[in-house]
């Protein structure tokens, strides 16, 4: 019984995405695909404990989901004959393995490009990727983004309708658009990760790490894909050390490095090495992965190679001019050359970041290190007022108390 349940869970984990992607390719219907898979899973949970686990559980699930799709479409067809459904039925009569030969033939890759199409609003891309590619429930996604299930359901529906009504094709983009569209996929995955990271939502961050791994398997030649995978593995490796026993945030400097997930660090390094191995000049994600790798290779915070980290930020800034990256560079400069130098560097970008909530926190930290206690306390007060999350706010309040008592 439990063996059968475990076998179902294993087969779903292995095959869900392939089955759903293939059914969406054939039918163009996201909901139908999910429903047919769900139906196959329910049947497996009924049958396998009685009949035993089939020899090829994945094939069983695929066949059952495909037959279900045929049933549903036949029923629909009698209601109102549609060309698309007739075509889908013809195709479903064959096997579901519709992957075309070549590096871009995989249905899962097509699904990713469809869900991350730039004609969809960003929030819709994120939601649909989590639903259709990662397989999260609407409720799980709603909870992660702090909206009601009904709101998230609407967001998903609008995205699926846009795909259907605007004629967004289920396909990999033309080769001359591939780089830009891959960037769009990576932006969605990165946004999911940063959302999870900022909210200390480990499950959401872990989904992003998984997604980046999937993209890396599907596009193993793309150095930015590998770079993002490396970056997320390296960041996520520090997950357990980011909070203490009381759930309070612990800064990178103060983290217990023994609590980092060293297997994940290794996996991150391997992905980074593969990205370097492509021989392409380092891109946006790879440079960030290089920075994360430099942090993780320091046994103690004091051993951090700030010279190379500042150099990596400089390279990042020539690639993508951004005041937020410049602020992160200023922090690194503060460690390399001392807090006063860091403050000068912050001063150079402050005007562009007047509204950025982390600016006062960065200034406060540098002022504290520089021993300018009164100015630091004032900056911490601003930082507390601007804090985006509760754990962030409590960390800043703690610093403020340490300074004023």
């Amino acid at each position: 019984m439990t063996d059968a349940r475990a076998a179902v869970a294993g087969a779903v984990a292995a095959e869900r995405l392939r089955i759903v992607a293939a059914l969406i390719r054939v039918t163009g219907d996201f909901d139908l695909a999910e429903d047919c898979l769900q139906d196959a899973v329910e049947r497996a949970l009924e049958r396998w404990p009685l009949d035993g686990v089939p020899d090829n559980p994945s094939a069983w699930l695929t066949t059952t989901a495909r037959r279900r799709a045929v049933d549903v479409l036949r029923r629909r067809q009698t209601e109102r004959a549609k060309l698309r459904e007739a075509q889908a039925l013809a195709e479903l009569a064959r096997d579901l393995t519709g992957d075309e030969p070549g590096p871009y033939g995989d249905d899962r890759l097509k699904l990713l490009f469809t869900c991350c199409h730039p004609a969809l609003p960003m929030a819709g891309r994120v939601a649909l990727t989590l639903k259709s590619v990662a397989g999260l429930s609407t409720r799980q996604i709603a909870r992660a983004f702090l909206v009601s299930e009904a709101t998230m359901g609407q967001r998903l529906l609008r995205a699926k309708n846009k795909i259907e009504h605007a004629g967004i094709g289920f396909r990999v983009p033309e080769s001359h658009r591939l780089a830009a569209r891959t960037d769009a996929v990576l932006a969605v995955v990165y946004l999911i990760f940063t959302e999870g990271y900022a909210a200390l939502d480990d499950d959401l961050a872990a989904e992003a790490v998984q997604l980046s791994g999937l993209v890396a398997r599907l596009l193993p030649e793309d150095d930015e894909v590998l770079g993002l995978h490396a970056l997320l593995l390296l960041q996520h490796a520090r997950r357990a050390a980011r909070t203490d026993a009381a759930g309070e945030l612990v800064t990178l400097e103060e983290q217990d490095r023994g609590r980092w997930d060293h297997d994940r660090v290794e996996a991150g390094r391997t992905a980074l090495a593969a990205a370097r191995g492509t021989g392409h000049p380092p891109g946006y994600y790879r440079l960030q992965a290089e920075i994360a790798a430099l942090h993780t290779s320091a046994a103690r915070a004091g051993d951090t190679d700030w010279v190379r980290i500042v150099a990596a930020y400089d390279a990042l800034l020539t690639l993508r001019s951004s005041p937020v990256i410049a602020l992160n560079r200023a922090v690194a400069v503060g460690f390399r050359d001392g807090p006063e130098a860091g403050l000068t560097a912050v001063g150079a970008v402050a005007a562009e970041l007047a509204e950025y909530p982390l600016l006062p926190a960065v200034r406060a930290d540098l002022l504290r290190r520089a021993g300018r206690r009164r100015e630091a306390a004032a900056a911490y007060r601003d930082a507390v007022a601007a804090a985006r999350t509760e754990p962030e706010r409590r960390l800043l309040e703690r610093r403020l108390r340490e300074l004023t008592t």
Binding site: A166, I168, R177
Partner: protein, 112 residues
């Protein structure tokens, strides 16, 4: 799938964008040659537009377009494409993609 491509002006573009804009005759030759063009034309400016409504049973005819903005529609094309990506590709080669903006609106057939 059929798309109505609305061709609009957009003051927010640089001289370099304008210089990079491809020739419209080339675009027309390409799009008709590919069998993707159904119909299209220029439109006279908003000053030549007339808006028609019936309200309370009364015909109201007014001078000008729907909305007064500093961007307006100067032309349209109907494209017949396999999917949105193909329509985007065709739009991206239009000279007004560089100096204006193009809006792709899918047809919504009554039997769809």
């Amino acid at each position: 799938m059929k798309y109505l491509m609305l061709v609009g002006t957009d003051p927010a573009h640089s001289e370099a964008d304008a210089a990079a804009a491809p020739d419209i005759e080339e675009w027309f030759a390409y799009v008709t040659g590919a069998g993707k063009h159904v119909v299209g034309d220029r439109l006279r400016p908003p000053s030549a537009a007339t808006t028609v409504r019936v309200r309370g049973g009364e015909l109201l005819v007014t001078d000008g377009p729907f909305a007064e903005t500093n961007e307006w529609i100067v032309g349209f094309d109907v494209l017949d494409c396999a999917d949105l990506d193909e329509a985007i590709e065709i739009a991206s080669k239009h000279s007004m993609a560089y100096t204006g903006r193009l809006e792709l609106r899918p047809f919504w057939p009554l039997d769809g």
